[in-house]
C-alpha cells in the first residue's frame, strides 16, 4: 500500500571474483572512473567550508538593514543585490546555507539512526516485535509528504530544533522500512548463524554482522534524502513555519521576498537558485553513489 518514497537503491553484493580486491580498492577505482562524482565531492566540501566560514567570507552582517539601499540590483558593493530591507543578498544566502545544511544533516542523522535501529530490531527479532514495529512504520508512512510536520510545527512553534524533530518524525519510517528489508535478506546467511551458534550476544550480532552488511542502500537513501529535506525545510519556512525571525533561511527569504517579486525579483530568484543548486548537488552525489554500488544484481525490495 505505501511504497517507500524514494526509489529503492539496488543492493551491492560482493561477487566471487571480487574477493581478491579489497572493498576500499574497489571504491577508489569506481570513484576514479567518475569525474562528475569527484567534482560533486569537491563542491560539497567547498559548500560545507563556505557555510562554516560564512562569518569570514560574508562582506556584510546578514541582519544589518539599510533602507536607503533596499531592493537594489547587482552592483560592485552588493554583487547579488539587496533585499526589501536593504540587507545584502549574498551574505544572507551564505548564512542561509548554514541553516539549511544544519537542519538537513541533523534531520537525516536522527531519522537514519532511529530508522535503522527500528528496522534492524524488527527484522532480527521477528514475530511480535516485527509485527508491532512494522505496523508503527506503516502508520507513519500513511501521512503523505510533510503534512504531519507542517501541522505539528505550526502548533509547537518556531525553532531550529523543533523543525528538525518535526521533519525527522515524518522521515524515519522510510529508513526503518528499507533497513528491515535489508536485514531480512542477510539475517539467515551462514556467517550470522555461525555467530549466533557461537554464542555472540544479539547486540553484537547486529552491530558487527547485520548493520555493516545491510546499511549501504540505506546510506544511499540518506544521501538522496538530504536534498529532499532541504526542499521540505524551505517549503515549511516559506509558509512562515519553523524558522524563528532573524535567522537567514532560503525558504523564509523567498516567503518574505515574494511580496516584492514585481519590482525586485532578486529577492526571490537568488535564494531559489541557492536551494536548487544545493539540492542538485546532493541529488547528483546520491545518484553517483547508487551507480558506484550498483553492480546490476538482483534488487531486494522490502515489503
Amino acid at each position: 500500500m505505501s511504497e517507500p518514497l524514494t526509489t529503492i537503491p539496488p543492493v551491492w553484493k560482493p561477487k566471487a571474483e571480487q574477493t581478491a580486491e579489497t572493498s576500499s580498492g574497489r571504491w577508489r577505482r569506481e570513484i576514479r572512473r567518475r569525474p562528475g562524482f569527484q567534482i560533486g565531492l569537491v563542491l560539497l566540501g567547498l559548500l560545507v567550508a563556505a557555510a562554516i566560514c560564512a562569518p569570514l567570507i560574508a562582506p556584510y552582517n546578514p541582519g544589518t538593514t539599510n533602507l536607503k539601499e533596499k531592493n537594489q540590483g547587482p552592483s560592485s558593493a552588493h554583487p547579488w543585490g539587496t533585499d526589501y530591507l536593504g540587507r545584502d543578498l549574498f551574505s544572507r544566502t551564505l548564512y542561509g546555507a548554514q541553516t539549511s545544511l544544519l537542519i538537513a544533516f541533523m534531520t537525516v542523522g536522527i531519522a537514519f539512526a532511529v530508522g535503522t535501529t527500528v528496522g534492524c530490531m524488527a527484522a532480527y527479532y521477528g514475530g511480535i516485535v516485527d509485527e508491532g514495529l512494522s505496523r508503527c512504520v506503516d502508520l507513519f508512512l500513511a501521512f503523505p509528504g510533510i503534512i504531519f510536520s507542517l501541522a505539528l510545527l505550526g502548533l509547537i512553534g518556531a525553532g531550529v530544533l523543533n523543525m528538525v524533530l518535526a521533519l525527522a518524525l515524518s522521515q524515519w519510517a522510510t529508513y526503518a522500512r528499507l533497513m528491515r528489508g535489508q536485514v531480512l535478506s542477510v539475517k539467515n546467511m551462514d556467517y550470522v548463524l555461525s555467530a549466533r551458534t557461537g554464542g555472540l550476544p544479539d547486540r553484537l550480532i547486529m552491530v558487527r554482522h547485520l548493520v555493516p552488511n545491510a546499511i549501504m542502500p540505506v546510506l544511499i537513501l540518506a544521501t538522496l534524502d538530504i536534498g529532499h529535506v532541504i526542499l521540505a525545510t524551505a517549503g515549511l519556512s516559506f509558509l512562515g513555519l519553523g524558522i524563528p525571525p532573524g535567522i537567514p533561511e532560503w525558504g523564509a527569504m523567498i516567503g518574505a521576498g515574494k511580496e516584492f517579486i514585481r519590482m525586485a525579483p532578486l529577492n526571490v530568484i537568488v535564494p531559489g537558485l541557492a536551494i536548487t543548486g544545493v539540492v542538485l548537488l546532493f541529488n547528483i552525489l546520491g545518484e553517483g553513489l547508487r551507480e558506484i554500488l550498483d553492480t546490476r544484481e538482483e534488487q531486494v525490495i522490502p515489503l
Binding site: 501521512f143 531559489g272 536548487t276 539540492v279 541529488n283
Partner: protein, 314 residues
C-alpha cells in the same frame, strides 16, 4: 479476491483510525494545543493575559476538559454517528461544512496535475527510452535532474512572475476559471512528472531488452509496431503503483501551492488552521488527506491486479 478485498479494506479503516488517533493526540498534547493558547488566539490578543475564567470557558466550550483519549473517542463517536468533525474555533462553523467547500478545489487541482503527470511523464519517458543516448534523451534526462531539484513553490513564483506579472497572459491568483488552474497545476506537476519520466524510461529500456522484443524484431515488425503494440503495455504496468504514491506527494505539495495562488482548497484551510491554532480544522484536514492518500493507493493496487492478471491475490 473477496478475501483479499475485505482484508485490505479492514486494514485501510484500521490505518485511518490509527492515523487520526495519532494526529489527534499529538496535536492536542503539544503546548500549542492547550486551552490557554486557544483562548489567546480566539478571545484576546496574542500578547494579552488570559484569565482563569477564560481558560475554563474555552475548555468547556470546545470539550477540552476530559482526558485526551476520551476527547478522541468522543470526537470519533460524533464523526461516525453524526458526521460531525467538531466546530472551528475561529470561523465558529462546523468543520464538515468548511471541508465540503474546500474539497472540490483541491480535487480539481490534484486531478489536473495528475493528468499532466500521466500524459507528460509517460510520453516523455517513452520518447527518452526510444531515443536512448541520442540528443533528445539527454535533454529529457538533464531536464528531469533539474526538475527534481527545483523547489516547487519557487517554480510557482517564477511562473507567476513570467506569465502573470510580465506577460499578463494568466491571472495572478484566484479560483474559478480554467485560466486560474494552469499555473498551480503546472507547478504542482513538475516534480512528480520528472520522477515518472525516469521510471517509465527505465521500465521501457528493460522491456525493450526482453527476448520477446528480439523475436518481434526478427519477425520483421516495424519499430513503431514493436514499441506501441509490444513494449509500452508491459513497460507501463510497474508505473501504475508509483502513480498512487505520487498522488500522495501531489496532495502534500498542494498545501504550499494552494497558499501561493490563494486556491481555496484543503491545503489553504490546513495552513490557515495551523496559524490560528484551529485544532479541529487541522486534525480533520490531516485525516481527510490521509484518507484520500490511502484510498487512492488501495485503488491503484486493485487496478494493478486487474491490468496484470499474472499477479495473484494473496
Amino acid at each position: 479476491m473477496h478475501h483479499y478485498l475485505i482484508k485490505r479494506l479492514a486494514f485501510l479503516v484500521l490505518t485511518i483510525v490509527a492515523a487520526s488517533a495519532l494526529a489527534f493526540v499529538l496535536l492536542h498534547a503539544v503546548p500549542g494545543g492547550s486551552a490557554e493558547t486557544i483562548a489567546r488566539h480566539t478571545l484576546v490578543g496574542l500578547e494579552d493575559e488570559v484569565s482563569e475564567q477564560m481558560i475554563t470557558e474555552v475548555s468547556d466550550q470546545y470539550d477540552l476538559v476530559d482526558p485526551l483519549w476520551q476527547q478522541y473517542l468522543n470526537w470519533v463517536y460524533r464523526a461516525v454517528r453524526y458526521g460531525d468533525l467538531g466546530t472551528s474555533f475561529v470561523y465558529h462553523e462546523p468543520v464538515t461544512r468548511l471541508l465540503t467547500l474546500a474539497l472540490p478545489p483541491t480535487l480539481i487541482l490534484a486531478a489536473t496535475s495528475m493528468l499532466i503527470v500521466i500524459v507528460a511523464g509517460i510520453s516523455l519517458g517513452i520518447y527518452s527510452a526510444v531515443r536512448e543516448n541520442r540528443a533528445g534523451d539527454l535533454i529529457v534526462r538533464c531536464a528531469t535532474v533539474f526538475s527534481i531539484s527545483f523547489p516547487s513553490f519557487w517554480i510557482a513564483l517564477m511562473l507567476m512572475l513570467v506569465f502573470s506579472l510580465t506577460l499578463n497572459w494568466l491571472p495572478v491568483t484566484g479560483y474559478g476559471t480554467p485560466a486560474h488552474l494552469v499555473l498551480p497545476a503546472l507547478a504542482l506537476a513538475l516534480h512528480p512528472t520528472a520522477v515518472v519520466v525516469r521510471i517509465v524510461r527505465t521500465s521501457m529500456l528493460e522491456t525493450l531488452g526482453q527476448p520477446y522484443i528480439t523475436f518481434a524484431v526478427a519477425k520483421g515488425l516495424s519499430f513503431g509496431q514493436i514499441v506501441w503494440n509490444h513494449a509500452v503495455k508491459n513497460a507501463l504496468i510497474p508505473v501504475t503503483t508509483v502513480l498512487g504514491v505520487y498522488f500522495g506527494h501531489l496532495l502534500a505539495g498542494a498545501v504550499i501551492i494552494e497558499n501561493i495562488f490563494a486556491w481555496p482548497g484543503i491545503g489553504h484551510l490546513l495552513v490557515d488552521g495551523v496559524f490560528s491554532h484551529d485544532i479541529p480544522i487541522v486534525t480533520s484536514c490531516i485525516v481527510v488527506i490521509v484518507t484520500m492518500f490511502l484510498v487512492v493507493n488501495l485503488s491503484v493496487d486493485l487496478l494493478y491486479r486487474i491490468i496484470d492478471p499474472r499477479i495473484s491475490y494473496e
